[in-house]
Amino acid sequence: MTSTRTRTRLAVFGFLGPFLALFLATIVFPLGYALFQSVTATARSGAFGEGGGTTVFVGLRNYAAALSDPGFVSSLGRVLLFAVVQVPLMIVLATALALMLDAASARGVKLFRSAYFLPYGVPGVIASLLWGFLYTPGISPVIDLGKVFGLQLDFLGAETVLWSIANIVIWQYAGYNMLVIVAQLKSIDRDLFEAAAIDGASSWQVITRIKLPLIAPAIVLTTVFTIIGTLQLFAEPLVLKPLSSAITSSYTPNMAAYNQAFTNNNYSLAAAESVLLALVACAFSFGFLKLIGRRQNA
């Protein structure tokens, strides 16, 4: 029998090794590579770069270029505006749905919960295709319905298309976020409700004094991930792009980075833009967590 130490070492190598190798190769290394790229540039020799390129260190020049590009900056502003509206809307809706399901009588709850969760199984691009049809004049029954009431609905105009995208994202993820909150609601000790009932608390008081404080962790969690996901907006506007002239190829930061990389072959600038976006997402998530933490302590 081998010694325990060798055995442990071998086990760790065998059990953790494969995951760690892939983790390093597909997450840690690409991250480092993106950072490296964002501070370098390829200097081409020859008129069309046929002489090959050499990589040179350029410091923060790519970041400066990204931040002085009005297209990228406005895309960043656009997703921030989008997030400011969409994140609270999403979270309030998800929380309201969870609380409503919790308050409803047992019958039908399962059915409703399934209905709300269903869109999570629809891939983002297919959800966008679907809503895209519902936004398209001539096919959309919603626009037809609007006409009956004398409304001229335009879902794809310059002013409205961002909120049409917000609707797609909410449709897809509200039910999922709801389920996270429902899971936490279910874990509340039922004795608390009995005690509250004996004390004569109204159902509104039960919600504000017991349920909301106890599901706060789930709400915080879904908020953080909604913030991160929202700023990464990519598939939805890309799919709606052929339908709306308001969506440019750098409509969101991710689209801008994709465009830089694959249309302009400027990987360094694309990397800098991706890193900037990740930093903004990071700042907002931690900012939010800090804000919550301070409230808790106050």
Binding site: A25, G108, F225, I292
Partner: protein
Amino acid sequence: MTETSTPDTSTLDSSARAVTTGTAKPAKPTRKVGSRRSGPARILLPVGLAVAAIYFLFPVYWLVIAATKSTGSLFGSSGFVLSEPQLFQNLENVLTYNGGIYLRWGLNSILYSGVGAIVATILSMSAGYCLAKFVFRGREFWFNVILAGVMIPGTALALPLFLMMSQLGLVNTYWAVLIPSMVSPFGVYLGRIYATAAVPDTLLEASRLDGAGEARIFFTLVLRLMTPAAVTVFLFQFIGIWNNYFLPLVMLSNPDLYPITLGLVSWQSVSDRNPDLYQLAIGGAFMSVIPIMIAIVSLQRFWKAGLTEGSVKG
């Protein structure tokens, strides 16, 4: 929104919980109420639930109706009512268009999601088990690094991954999508929590005394005990890969390798030139969405199990 944050469930829960639990103040007795739900609430609640259900279901209803229509009546009739239904004709068109490419996309999607999710599940369960049950130097360090990996948006990684894959000559192969899909840091997190709670040390010691090797202990004993967590990770990973768009978009240019998502978008994007593709995209969306929806709803208890796992045991 991208698919990056799919497997997020309760990752931060334990820390968030530590901050927030214990803040619930017991409700102050203010007035005595007999029945806890008053008149208006009793009516408003079901109405609210029903309105929400209509919102979430009506695009699906529209899709089902639209999938039965000919290209002509798609544009010519109301989207809410049936008009000369010809569902099977439409589905046949989808399946036979361009030499049956749709079927191929479907199989590709199943391959990417199935293989990716199975490998990701086994790797993350074994890593989680290792982090839970073996004491070694750097254990907490690696766990924290993996946890940080949960927060990194996949879109930030897609471009550098593409450049790496092209260096390796793997761009435009199944591997380019499969390899990154096999990694689930969230799965490791869940696996560690679950193994800590569900795998008794005494059992491991007993099997070791009986002379069982570590690999055998893991595959015959531990994996079975960790099944609930494994199923949850598998489902999240499967849906995550199935819904992913950015990664295959960046990696693949050969339509033969496309998953369904990429294929349908390629139809939709040229449909203004070829209106028949509208109907094909709708029929294709219908066929891919319905089975997943059925699966999602019927497997709901597993999602929930996973979600509570993170929050309760964390």
